[in-house]
């Protein structure tokens, strides 16, 4: 259902265009602008000197400078001094992507006594000089627009205070499998009280059910027993089994978990929550590779139990097993089905089971019907070992999967061998083992709705960013570890839950924590509490409150994630995200469109290569041409070049090393004092 079209109140389009009127703020009057050369990464394509002169004429701009490296210590010191001397009330830094140095320059502002949110970062490297290095002139024009937009935006910037809250030094860990148990130990050792909440009667989850584990050869149950013994010795860990998580309220630093243990209802006060609820094994459908149609088709988990419990001979249903066919990727990598992902651990698990069979029983033949073998990392040794034992590997493709049929009381497999001209093979085996993948737990919807953790298209819990924030969720204070996030083996599960444990400790350690104030806010004058914002908010951050005799929306700043979904659905435009206000966004658009009078001097430089030396440096940075023309027939050291060109020596060092690698210059021995290398042009 669309939140925008669902309007019973016959809202016309003009409502969506009403300008936000409240929150009038004083425009910034004294702005400092710093445009970075990035040692040539920007200035080779964008004419930063010309831009800084142009920008100096802008209204409200007090200082406009081009700097070699904006992030260098010396430039940072200059900025602090400028802010103080010139009484700047806002700064704009035009350099690289905000992902790299936002905190650097926010800290510059803080050191100078300026509010860190009165600074705007403009990306003129990744989104300008590099992206348009083919068209330096156009890149310069675009950079001008980008910087203008940054100045416009910073004019509307508001001084914001971080939201400070007290944090309970206690953590709720949901799920006492190996990930949760191991994380609980570390969290407790770091000085937090841990409530380890387990739904089942016993701790240990899937690992406790496993037999021999691959690589170490230990028994899963032994590993869990050892870990549980350790947990029982730590007084800071309270374990609840047979426990159900009923309700979660509160927010980061101060959650209340309502948990029922048998008939007892408990309220646990925690600062953060770690979710380690694990996975379910994929259950093959009836008839999938003969499952449930033939008694001789079982899952890998059933097979592992059989290996464990059989002695001397491998016997199933009273029949001796002399041949086993493993069918891989059952319930995984379904290009047309629900589970598009690879379950990571099943190739290794199946091969490991096959090796266990060889170790315990003799004379069992193994056929592995696989799509691709993914025994990554050290697990490759399992594959090597299994091949050496004579296991037969047959590659099939998803579009032509193996068929399992019962003919004359025999379980017959028919498969096209993709590595032998799709030759059709047909053979009978005593047992078919379905190598099933991992799926999200059947109760994961319940957990995700209570904790409001978003799930991905694979229905596993979603992290904020797979590389940069791999254990954080968008819910502040709620972290994920282990296989509730997606398929992992035991090692990877424990790695991720320990990463989450240390992340949790960093936020709870101080006892207080600061949140970024990028949240929604409501215009009390115009808000009519139509509930549309609350209806789309997935974080329960908006509740009604009475104000001046009418109901209006109120935002809980510690649960609001600042996504802005509430903004476009408001018929009276009464809710907005700070730093993304109409004024800020629309003034940026205006800034992009300002016409620039840029001189086209750059093109002429392309041809002025020094004194007849036929070095084609057109495609290379401008500074290379300058170095080449300075060297000419001479040999010079870096300090000499630095003086001659007026370029910092560390920048020159970097470029000379690169030029040396490209065969433009070469070293020419040491200077008289044997202090510096001399460089000359390579003939």
């Amino acid at each position: 259902m669309s939140p925008l079209n669902d309007d019973k109140d016959s809202i016309t389009s003009s409502f969506y265009l009403t300008k936000q009127t409240s929150f009038r703020i004083a425009m910034k009057q004294r702005i400092g602008v710093y445009i970075c050369h990035c040692g040539g990464n920007i200035s080779d394509y964008v004419d930063v000197e010309q831009l800084s002169k142009l920008i100096a004429n802008e209204d409200n701009v007090v200082i406009s400078k081009d700097v070699m490296f904006a992030c260098s210590d010396s430039t940072q010191k200059d900025m602090v001094q400028d802010i103080n001397d010139q009484k700047l009330d806002a700064i704009v830094v035009a350099s690289c992507t905000p992902k790299l140095h936002t905190h650097t320059f926010r800290n510059v502002a803080i050191r100078a006594g300026l509010n860190p949110y009165n600074y705007t970062q403009v990306n003129v490297r990744e989104q300008c000089s590099w992206a348009h290095s083919d068209k330096p002139m156009d890149a310069t024009i675009k950079a001008y627009g980008l910087i203008r937009a940054g100045i416009n935006r910073v004019k509307y910037s508001e001084a914001l205070e971080n939201i400070e809250i007290t944090a309970q030094k206690a953590v709720g860990v949901i799920g006492a499998g190996i990930s949760g148990m191991r994380a609980a130990v570390d969290l407790a050792r770091m000085g937090n009280h841990v409530y380890l909440i387990e739904k089942e009667a016993n701790v240990g989850g899937r690992v406790a059910e496993s037999g021999k584990l691959f690589m170490t050869g230990e028994n899963g149950k032994d590993v869990i027993d050892r870990l549980y013994k350790r947990i029982k010795e730590i007084p800071e860990i309270t374990v609840f089994t047979n426990a159900n998580l009923d309700k979660v309220s509160g927010s980061i630093g101060d959650f209340t978990l309502e948990v029922s243990v048998k008939d007892e209802a408990l309220k646990l006060n925690v600062g953060a929550v770690l979710v380690t609820t694990g996975f379910d094994f994929y259950q093959p459908k009836e008839g999938e590779y003969g499952y449930k149609l033939s008694d001789n088709v079982i899952t890998l988990q059933q097979f592992n139990k059989l290996i464990e419990t059989s002695n001397d001979k491998l016997v199933y249903n009273g029949n001796a097993i002399k041949s086993v066919a493993y069918i891989y990727c059952v319930g995984s990598r379904q290009s047309k089905g629900e589970n598009k992902y690879c379950s990571r651990q099943c190739c290794s698990a199946a091969i490991h089971s096959s090796l266990n069979v060889h170790e315990k029983f003799s004379g069992v033949k193994a056929f592995h019907l696989y799509r691709d073998i993914r025994t990554y990392g050290k697990q490759e040794l399992l594959y090597t070992e299994s091949s050496r034992k004579g296991d037969i590997y047959i590659k099939y493709e998803e579009k032509e999967p193996p068929a399992v049929e019962v003919k004359n009381n025999k379980t017959v497999i028919t498969v096209k061998d993709y590595l032998t001209y799709k030759k059709e093979l047909s053979f009978d085996v005593d047992l078919v083992v379905l190598v099933t993948g991992m799926v999200p737990r059947s109760d994961s919807n319940d957990i995700s709705s209570k904790l409001k953790i978003p799930t991905g298209s694979d229905r596993f819990f979603n992290e904020i960013h797979p590389k940069l924030k791999p254990v954080e969720t968008v819910i502040k204070g709620v972290y994920i570890g282990g296989t509730c996030q997606g398929p992992k083996n035991i090692t990877e599960s424990v790695q991720s839950s320990l990463a989450a444990a240390s992340k949790i400790n960093t936020i709870l350690r101080k006892g207080t924590l600061e949140l970024e104030p990028i949240v929604a806010r409501v215009n009390a004058e115009t808000c009519l509490w139509c509930e549309k914002c609350a209806a789309v908010c997935e974080y329960d951050a908006i509740k009604p409150i009475e104000s001046n005799g009418k109901m209006i929306a109120q935002v809980n700043t510690s649960t609001c994630v600042g996504c802005g979904i509430c903004g476009p659905v408001c018929p009276s435009n009464s809710i907005e995200i700070v730093q993304f206000t109409d004024n800020e966004i629309e003034s940026m658009i205006d800034g992009f469109m300002e016409k620039a009078e840029i001189n086209t001097k750059q093109d002429s430089q392309e041809n002025e290569i020094s004194s007849g030396k036929q070095i084609k440096l057109n495609g290379f940075p401008k500074i290379w041409r300058e170095i080449a023309s300075a060297l000419d027939d001479k040999t010079l050291t870096i300090p000499q070049l630095s003086e001659q060109l007026g370029v910092e020596s560390n920048v020159l060092t970097w470029h000379l090393m690169t030029m040396n690698r490209y065969g433009v210059v070469e070293p020419a021995g040491l200077d008289e004092d044997e202090a510096y290398y001399m460089y000359k042009l390579k003939k």
């Binding site: 669309s2 939140p3 925008l4 079209n5 389009s13 969506y16 265009l17 009403t18 300008k19 992507t97 905000p98 992902k99 990306n123 490297r125 990744e126 989104q127 300008c128 000089s129 590099w130 992206a131 348009h132 290095s133 083919d134 156009d138 890149a139 024009i141 675009k142 627009g145 980008l146 937009a149 978003p454 799930t455 991905g456 298209s457 979603n462 904020i464 960013h465 590389k467 969720t473 968008v474 990028i518 789309v536 997935e538 994630v561 600042g562 996504c563 802005g564 979904i565 509430c566 903004g567 476009p568 435009n573 993304f580 109409d582 966004i585 629309e586 940026m588 658009i589 992009f592 469109m593």
Partner: protein, 147 residues
């Protein structure tokens, strides 16, 4: 100085956690695209107000491209749905003002989607080139200004 070839100006709304890194990567790998493309980053494409889109057209942008997170959005599993209804709403207003609704386009751009981004932009540029400058449409039908 207008040159003979019409280069459409495109405003991109991209998300700071997912699409931005994808667009940054196009720059990092020097996969070139039109320099008349300008990007504004926002937390989530579900937060784009239709009035911002209209403002862009009024200021002379020939097209608006929404680089959405699609199913990767970390805020909402219904992100595409929300973003889509914003586009529908914006298109309603565009129709009222005789602005061609093809001037707005959405695609999911992931954090490593450098090539897809550049491809989308070049396809979109071609569409906009055929439509011509926004100025013609805005001039034909003088709409009351915003605010």
């Amino acid at each position: 100085m207008e040159t003979q070839e019409f280069k459409p100006r495109i405003l991109v709304f991209s998300t700071d956690k997912i699409s931005d890194p994808g667009i940054d990567q196009a720059g990092l790998r020097k996969i070139h695209y039109s320099p008349s493309v300008y990007t504004i980053s926002i937390p989530c494409s579900s937060g784009i107000k239709p009035r911002w889109i209209l403002h862009a057209f009024e200021q002379g942008f020939d097209g608006v491209f929404i680089a959405a997170d699609g199913t990767e959005c970390s805020y909402s599993s219904k992100c595409s749905e929300h973003t889509n209804s914003i586009i529908v709403e914006a298109q309603k207003i565009m129709k009222e003002r005789n602005i061609n609704t093809k001037r707005i386009r959405m695609a999911a751009i992931c954090s490593v989607c450098a090539e897809p981004f550049v491809n989308h932009i070049s396809t979109f540029s071609k569409i906009l080139q055929d439509l011509g400058s926004i100025k013609n449409e805005i001039a034909e039908h003088k709409a009351p200004s915003l605010s």
